[in-house]
Every structure is written in structure tokens, then in C-alpha cells.
């Protein structure tokens, strides 16, 4: 007991390895400290009679230190396991610390209360979903961002999307919505002509006449007249049977751009791509010339 004051005078004034000084407070890092502050009444080194409550794995223990055992550092602290229920534990503290100074008793009970509260909270949190904190690796993050930018530049999105859309238009997925005169048809025609030059076919395909079908609906009468005139001019070049002439009328009426010349003679039915199968009705063919007249 007598050393308490001496110890305190030394610790307080000069050095204590458990002491932590901050701007406003002095803390005690000693694990047996009751309040955590560096005070005369709360210092475990400067009090031969001392008690604390500590928690281990969810169990609360009451530690007590008495003068009698101050010579045996090994057995100095007496450890008592407190009950898990708060009420019982408080009663236990009262029982063990019955003749102890009020400060220690009060602080022990407060500490027990705090500990039990945080234990309850921990248990509740464990049951809930926890947000998993994933640390950001700066280098990876930077690398990914840069690669994304580069990929964006390489992607050339607008042109890719445009290309895809045009391809869909060509393929005919949009059906009849768009008014481009026979988009697929024109394409196929061009391809045909390329393929043809080598070929000799005798079939004047029905398709030839079919080609004439669709433009009928789209073209005005005046336009038709003009086109017919043009086609008439072209007719002069051909030396073909009459039946072909009519067909040519139809085919040429809409296809001014295309050089039909030799091609007309050689349209081969079998070379036609399947997607160009258009139904042919002979009647409308004859209608046309009447209309222009």
C-alpha cells in the first residue's frame, strides 16, 4: 500500500510506458485499466487494490488484485467468470466487490454494461448482410480505365452500329418499312451482272419480268412515261424478240443506272439467289403500256 503513492509520483511526473499523451487527454494503454484514462484512481500500477471487467470471446471476466498478492506478480490477478445474463453478472460484481471503494464498483458495472451492449450489437450484425469491402488496387484501376479508353477508340462505335444497321436493311429484316426502291433487289442485280459475263443462259427467267413488278406501285405516271421513253431508246440497240422487249420495258423502267445491255439476254434462273423470289403475274405486265397511253 505504501508504494502506491511513490509509484504514482514517479509514473505521473516522468515516464510510464503505458501512458499516451494527446492534446486534451492522457490515456493508459494498460490492458487491466478500468477506464482507459491515466488517473490516480484508475491506474492499475499505482493501486494495489484494483478490479476490472474484461471480455474474452464473448465471455466477461472480473479481474481483482489485492495487496496480499502484490508480491506475487504471477498470481496477482484473480479471474472470475461472470454470468452471461447482465442482471446476474451485476449481482456477482456486487458480491465480489462488496467492501471495495465505490469508484471501482461503479466503474466495473459501467464497463460490464458497455461490453454487453457491444456484444449484442456484434451478434446482430453477424446475422445481417454485411457489405463486403473490396480494396481498390490503384494500379489495376488505372490500367483498366486506360484500356477502356483505348478500347473505346478502337471500337469506333458509331460506324460499327451504322454498318450493322445498313446490313440489316440489306438483309431485309425491316421488311417493307423503308421506301428505298428494292434495296436487296438492286444489290442482287449488281451481283448478277458480275457473275454473268462468263455465262450463257437461255432462260429468260421469269424473274426478269418479276423485276418489273415492284416499281409499278412506286412510280408516278409521268415518271413512267419518261422511263418508258428512255427504255424505248435503248430498245433500238437490242435485236431481240418482242417478248423480251416488253420485259425490258419493265426492267428498265426502274433501273436506269444499271447497264442491262448484254446482261438481259443471259439472266439465268438458277443463278438467282433465293431471296429474290418475287411472284410474277402476267396481267400487270400488259396493264402498263395501256397506262402510259
Amino acid at each position: 500500500m505504501e508504494n502506491d503513492d511513490i509509484v504514482w509520483s514517479i509514473i505521473n511526473k516522468s515516464f510510464c510506458s503505458y501512458k499516451v499523451n494527446t492534446k486534451t487527454q492522457r490515456f493508459c494503454r494498460n490492458e487491466y485499466n478500468l477506464t482507459g484514462l491515466c488517473n490516480r484512481s484508475a491506474c492499475p500500477l499505482a493501486n494495489s487494490q484494483y478490479a476490472t471487467v474484461r471480455e474474452e470471446d464473448g465471455n466477461c471476466f472480473l479481474y481483482m488484485k489485492t495487496v496480499e498478492r502484490s508480491g506475487f506478480p504471477r498470481n496477482m490477478w484473480e479471474k472470475v467468470k461472470l454470468s452471461k445474463s447482465l442482471e446476474k453478472a451485476l449481482r456477482q460484481i456486487n458480491e465480489y466487490l462488496v467492501y471495495w471503494p465505490g469508484f471501482t464498483r461503479q466503474k466495473c458495472k459501467q464497463r460490464l454494461l458497455k461490453i454487453s451492449q457491444y456484444l449484442i450489437r456484434m451478434r446482430k450484425l453477424r446475422l445481417r448482410r454485411q457489405k463486403k469491402l473490396v480494396p481498390i488496387q490503384r494500379k489495376q484501376d488505372r490500367r483498366e480505365r486506360r484500356r477502356e479508353e483505348k478500347a473505346l477508340v478502337a471500337a469506333r462505335l458509331d460506324s460499327a452500329i451504322e454498318k450493322e444497321l445498313l446490313e440489316r436493311l440489306k438483309r431485309g429484316t425491316y421488311g417493307d418499312i423503308y421506301n428505298f426502291p428494292q434495296v436487296a433487289f438492286n444489290k442482287a442485280l449488281e451481283e448478277e451482272e458480275d457473275a454473268e459475263v462468263n455465262m450463257e443462259g437461255d432462260d429468260y427467267g421469269e424473274d426478269e419480268e418479276n423485276e418489273g413488278e415492284e416499281p409499278d406501285e412506286d412510280i408516278d405516271e409521268e415518271l413512267e412515261k419518261e422511263l418508258e421513253e428512255e427504255s424505248e431508246n435503248e430498245e433500238i440497240e437490242y435485236v431481240e424478240a418482242d417478248s423480251d422487249l416488253e420485259r425490258e420495258l419493265e426492267s428498265e423502267s426502274d433501273l436506269e443506272d444499271i447497264e442491262p445491255k448484254a446482261s438481259n439476254s443471259v439472266k439465268d434462273n438458277t443463278r438467282r439467289k433465293p431471296r429474290l423470289e418475287i411472284e410474277y403475274e402476267t396481267e400487270t405486265l400488259s396493264k402498263n403500256p395501256k397506262r402510259t397511253v
Binding site: R129, E144, E148, L152, A155, L157, L169, F180
Partner: protein, 342 residues
């Protein structure tokens, strides 16, 4: 002397024809001397040097031969030579030099196409059902995430947004199944910004987690009030550049979030474009100006996705069967800069 002069004149008159290696070297040299020009502190001397330099190289002033000029020259040469022109040089790109993947899908291979078409999305692609999507967020979403989710509900047709009230994903999936949803999308948030997207196909479908980056909302787009151009027509989906089996799986998953029957009259196109494992999402309104040109107007948000993992069943991080995951395996997976997985 005369001849020398003539020679000089001749030099000046003749334009440097082709850019040979020696030409380039000369240009570099000139460049270097010019660098020295900037270190000359004496103004008189500096100006004199500059004058000589300018006189010497009229076209090759500041840099050695510029890219565009080189291109033009090469084009001219090619035209001049006609058939004999050397083949056009193809620049080496990352896409060109991509490491060949065993799982690249070959359209002609029947087995592969059979496998692909008969996965969990078969019922979608055979048009038996209409997708119904539930979109949620993580707890306490902030304004950006909220806006983002609202926009997603406008993009995915037949989608509903519900706020997460501290329910776990597994429970959410259960209740969504009971209410006949076909897909669940959960947007994860970090630092007030959406950063992750979990897509889960409901009746035991695959689950994928993407990392979202570069989110740009509709209100931040170039055109003001573009939100007025949003219609309720069902958009058509464009999936570009998904080459491997994994890529196909992911693309089918993303496609199945939209209605199988788009309304072409609405002229809305939603694109998922894969480039080097980054999936760029764009939402456009298109208009065909002619057969060769289409005009695009960007509506809607844009964001980038990056696949983090793909799981076979519904969400189960502990016992789930991961088809592909890169989270802890970066060193194994990212072996080369030319290796991509999608």
C-alpha cells in the same frame, strides 16, 4: 559552277518524290538541327539558322514527314502504279494480333451453334415468353444511381424498379420467382455512383456480375431535352463482336433482357458492343438517309460493362458453380496483353 547551280535549281524544282529511308533520315536530321535551334539564345544567329532551314525544306518544316502527307503520297503512288502497286499495308492492331482462343465460335460449326442455341435462353429465343425484369439497387442508393435505375427502366421494356429494403439477394430472387419475373438486375453502388450490375436469369438461369464504368445519364447528353425523344417502342438489339463461347453466353444473356420482337417503326436501337472485353452500351435513334448511310442520334444513357464472373445457377456466391471468374485469378488469366475472353 553553272552545272552546280543548275543542279541546285533542279533540286529545288523537283519535289521529293518518294519517302525513302534516306529521306526520312534526312528529315530526322533536320528536325534535330531544329531542336538545336530552340536552344540558341542569340536571336540574330537563331533567325539566320531558321531562315536557312526554311529555305532548305519547304514542306518538312516542323516534324518529319507528317502522317497525312505520307498517306497521300502512298495513295498517289498506288494509283500511279495501278495493278503493279504493292499490296496495301495493313497496320498491326490489337484486334489483328489477338491471341487465338480455342473457344472462338465458328459460325459454320453445327455442333457449336447447336450448343449455343440450346442453352438456358432457348425458351427466350424461341419466343415463348416475354421478359419481365425487376431492377433494384443496393441499400440507400444516392441520386446518380437512382437516376440511372430510372433510365434503365425506360430502356428495358417491361421492367419495374423496386427499392431494396435490406433484403438479401437470395430472398429477392425467391420472391421474384413467385411473382413471375424472368430476370433480376441489381445495380450496386459505391461512393455515390453505380459501379456494378448483377444480372440473374430467373428460372435457374445463369447469373453474371459486371463492373459498370463511365456512366453518362440522359440529362448529361449532348442534346438538350433528348429525353423527349424516348418512345415506348420496343428497341432492337445489336450485339457486336462477341467471339468466344463465353462471349456468346453473355450476349445472349443481355439480349434476353429485351423483348424478342422489336418494333422497327420506333427506330430505336440498343447496342452492346464488345471490344477487348469491354462491353459498350449505347442507345440510339436511327434514320436511314439512303441505302448507304444511316444517321444516328444518341439517346439514353451510355455505360461500359466488364464481366467479372458468370455463374451457372442463380445467385450463390458460396456454393455456386462458376462458369468463369476473374476475381482472384488475375495472374493466371491475364497472361498476355493480347488475350481476351469475350
Amino acid at each position: 559552277m553553272e552545272s552546280a547551280e543548275n543542279a541546285e535549281n533542279a533540286e529545288v524544282l523537283v519535289k521529293p518524290p518518294t519517302l525513302t529511308a534516306s529521306d526520312r533520315l534526312a528529315a530526322k536530321k533536320r528536325f534535330r538541327t531544329q531542336r538545336r535551334l530552340s536552344t540558341m539564345k542569340n536571336k540574330v544567329l537563331r533567325n539566320a539558322q531558321w531562315a536557312t532551314l526554311k529555305k532548305r525544306s519547304e514542306r518538312l518544316l516542323f516534324h518529319f514527314i507528317g502522317k497525312k502527307e505520307g498517306q497521300k503520297q502512298r495513295k498517289k503512288e498506288a494509283e500511279a502504279l495501278g495493278d503493279k502497286a504493292p499490296p496495301k499495308q495493313i497496320p498491326r492492331t490489337i484486334e489483328n494480333t489477338r491471341e487465338a482462343d480455342i473457344t472462338t465460335v465458328d459460325r459454320d460449326d453445327e455442333e457449336v451453334t447447336f450448343d449455343i442455341t440450346h442453352d438456358e435462353y432457348e425458351s427466350y429465343f424461341s419466343k415463348t415468353y416475354v421478359p419481365k425484369i425487376l431492377i433494384t439497387s443496393s441499400d440507400n442508393p444516392h441520386s446518380k444511381t437512382i437516376h440511372f435505375i430510372r433510365e434503365l427502366t425506360k430502356i428495358f421494356p417491361s421492367s419495374e424498379c423496386q427499392w431494396r429494403k435490406r433484403s438479401s439477394v437470395k430472398k429477392m430472387i425467391q420472391s421474384a420467382k413467385e411473382k413471375d419475373y424472368t430476370d433480376v438486375v441489381v445495380i450496386n453502388e459505391d461512393r455515390r455512383v453505380p459501379n456494378g450490375m448483377l444480372v440473374s436469369h430467373l428460372p435457374d438461369g445463369p447469373t453474371a456480375y459486371f463492373k459498370i464504368s463511365n456512366v453518362k445519364l440522359t440529362k448529361d447528353m449532348k442534346y438538350k431535352n433528348i429525353i423527349k425523344e424516348f418512345t415506348t417502342h420496343r428497341p432492337e438489339v445489336i450485339l457486336n463482336n462477341f467471339q468466344t463461347r463465353l462471349g456468346q453466353a453473355v450476349s445472349r444473356m443481355l439480349a434476353s433482357l429485351f423483348h424478342y420482337d422489336p418494333q422497327f417503326k420506333g427506330r430505336r436501337a440498343v447496342t452492346f458492343h464488345n471490344q477487348r472485353d469491354y462491353i459498350f452500351f449505347r442507345h440510339h435513334r436511327y434514320e436511314f438517309k439512303s441505302q448507304k448511310r444511316a444517321a444516328l442520334r444518341e439517346l439514353g444513357p451510355r455505360f461500359t460493362l466488364r464481366l467479372k464472373w458468370l455463374q451457372k445457377g442463380t445467385f450463390d456466391t458460396i456454393e455456386g458453380d462458376y462458369e468463369w471468374i476473374i476475381a482472384g485469378k488475375r495472374h493466371e488469366m491475364e497472361t498476355s496483353r493480347r488475350r481476351f475472353f469475350l
